[in-house]
């Protein structure tokens, strides 16, 4: 009998715990606001069931040590760093050179302007919104060490480049982009006010019958009291609250759908830029220049296409070049990039692993050469990616290797890294 009473006492003690244990939102909630947002998420998830943009931080493709064959249309908002790592580049024969491969830094005019004004380029919404055009222009500088032979076009060079985004429909700060979202937020907000009223009244009627809902909300749902109040809920009361939420989430679901559709739409818009990039050398070796138009377009949520069309020129500086050197080459290149997952967090962070397939055609004097590349981008953390590429060419001299060339490096997009560290 005593044992049964003790058992019954223990069951009675644990019952309230079981009741609120059904509420997965309560343990981590800092306040009623967090709890109600969590309940809305759960109700929508239960109702629904299971359920970009390319910014180049690498060295431009004109650099022989670049891990990319095809350039993308935009640069990171702040500063991007691209490095081809030690041991995989083609150092001069017999050289004991252990320096890393090509290294480049890309910065937008916006980041330089922000530095000049002493502004945090990612924290000041006025400054960001008012200097949209400054983000259209980016500069790249870098260094490419000597390659096989170390003379002529294989000698060390300075990488320099400018890119101007002509068509930028992915700019999130354009006011017209968010008008429909703002409208959806207003409707959802009004619906939430009614939802909150209904939930508060249900709680007040169940847990403090006879009193007013305002008094209950004031005394029992503040930061210091809400957990104790909500722990009194049983499973039945929680069901009634979820039913009240379910009856008032039409505008909420519409708003979430509108936001999701907008993110997808913005990411899928085309982007076009013009770029000049070059390998500049001293007076004893020729310079190489690449002028091109670049188009980025998303074919599907996980599949993007990039095209380059332009001209490669060699400034021979009146030097005598090898007889087979073409000083003017028409170039067309394209790539398809497949993401293995949806980008994790909308427009800003969490890039998935991607696999790219590229083709580069060069036409000079009726002769056509091609290169193909397979490239894997492995994200390490937000803003930091390790690109690994393998390139094949129909002519050995195109990639200065017999048939196949592998490159391995890393890129840092400091805007994404800074956003993560905030």
């Amino acid at each position: 009998m005593i044992r049964r009473s003790v058992l019954l006492f223990l069951v009675c003690l644990t019952l309230p715990a079981f009741a609120h244990a059904q509420d997965t939102c309560l343990p981590n909630a800092q306040g009623f606001t967090q709890w109600i947002n969590c309940r809305i998420d759960l109700v929508i998830a239960a109702k629904s069931g299971p359920s970009g943009g390319e910014k180049q931080a690498e060295a431009p493709s004109v650099a022989d040590d670049s891990t990319t064959l095809v350039d993308t249309s935009s640069a990171p908002d702040f500063v991007g760093l691209g490095v081809t790592l030690l041991g995989l580049r083609n150092a001069p024969e017999g050289s004991d050179d252990t320096n890393p491969g090509g290294t480049s830094i890309t910065a937008t005019a916006y980041s330089l302007l922000a530095a000049a004004y002493g502004k945090d380029p990612l924290a000041d919404p006025d400054f960001y919104a008012n200097h949209h055009n400054w983000r259209r222009v980016s500069f790249t500088v870098g260094r490419e060490p000597a390659r096989e032979g170390g003379v002529g076009l294989n000698s060390a060079s300075t990488i320099a480049g400018v890119k101007v985004v002509l068509l930028d429909l992915r700019e999130i700060t354009r006011t017209e982009n968010l008008t429909d979202i703002q409208s959806a937020v207003e409707k959802s907000n009004m619906e939430f006010a009614n939802l909150l009223r209904a939930v508060t009244e249900i709680l007040a009627a169940a847990l403090a019958p006879g009193g007013s809902a305002v008094d209950f909300a004031k005394s029992s749902l503040s930061v210091g009291t809400f957990k104790g109040t909500l722990m009194k809920m049983d499973g039945e009361l929680l069901k009634r609250i979820d039913a009240a939420i379910l009856a008032r989430i039409t505008a909420e679901v519409a708003m979430r759908d509108a936001i999701k559709a907008k993110i997808t739409e913005i990411k899928n818009r085309p982007q076009i830029s013009l770029a000049w990039s070059s390998n500049l050398r001293d007076a004893t070796a020729p310079d190489q220049h690449r002028f091109q138009a670049i188009l980025d377009y998303n074919l599907a949520p996980r599949l993007s296409a990039t095209g380059n069309l332009g001209l490669d020129l060699i400034d021979d500086k009146d030097l005598t070049l090898p007889p087979d050197t073409e000083t003017s080459v028409f170039r067309a290149a394209g790539s398809l990039k497949l993401a293995f997952a949806e980008p994790g967090h909308g427009l800003v962070l969490s890039q998935p692993v991607t696999l790219g397939l590229s083709l580069d055609l060069q036409v000079a004097g009726g002769d056509t050469k091609y290169k193909t590349q397979v490239k894997l981008d492995l994200p390490v953390t937000a803003g930091v990616t390790i690109p690994i590429s393998l390139t094949w060419a129909d002519r050995p001299e195109v990639i200065d290797e017999k048939e196949v060339r592998g490159l391995f490096g890393f890129t840092i997009d400091t805007s994404k890294l800074a956003a993560l560290l905030r």
Partner: protein, 142 residues
Amino acid sequence: MAKTPPPDFGKAGRLKIRTDEQGALVNVTAGEFIRLKLTVKGPGQAVFAFGCQHRPLWSAPDFPGHPQKVYEWHHFKQPGDADAPADTYALTIAFIGGITSYTFLMETVAKSGTVVATLKDFDASSTAAQDVLHTGIMLLVS
């Protein structure tokens, strides 16, 4: 390696709540009113709406100079501001505009300008563009 804690809201939201009242009395006849201030940080434009159960009251584009860093407005200062003696007011903030942090402060202020009570005071931040956060309070006007 330390396990990343789950978000406080949405996909990547973080909250730092200092005050989160759910009900309050506002003595409008004595000249009390509500002062609201939303401070934003991030490379973009704020997307938010403030309203009651009956109508939208303020949203980001209503403010001259939008986008800006600080949005401040009052309620119950004008005749007709109260739609009902007891009404629930709500604020919804969205992160799609590129804003990564909102700080919301809501206070009851006496006619003299002194703060009677802090009703809401929290920081909400997120790096996920799809994240939204709602907050609200039931106000009884006398």
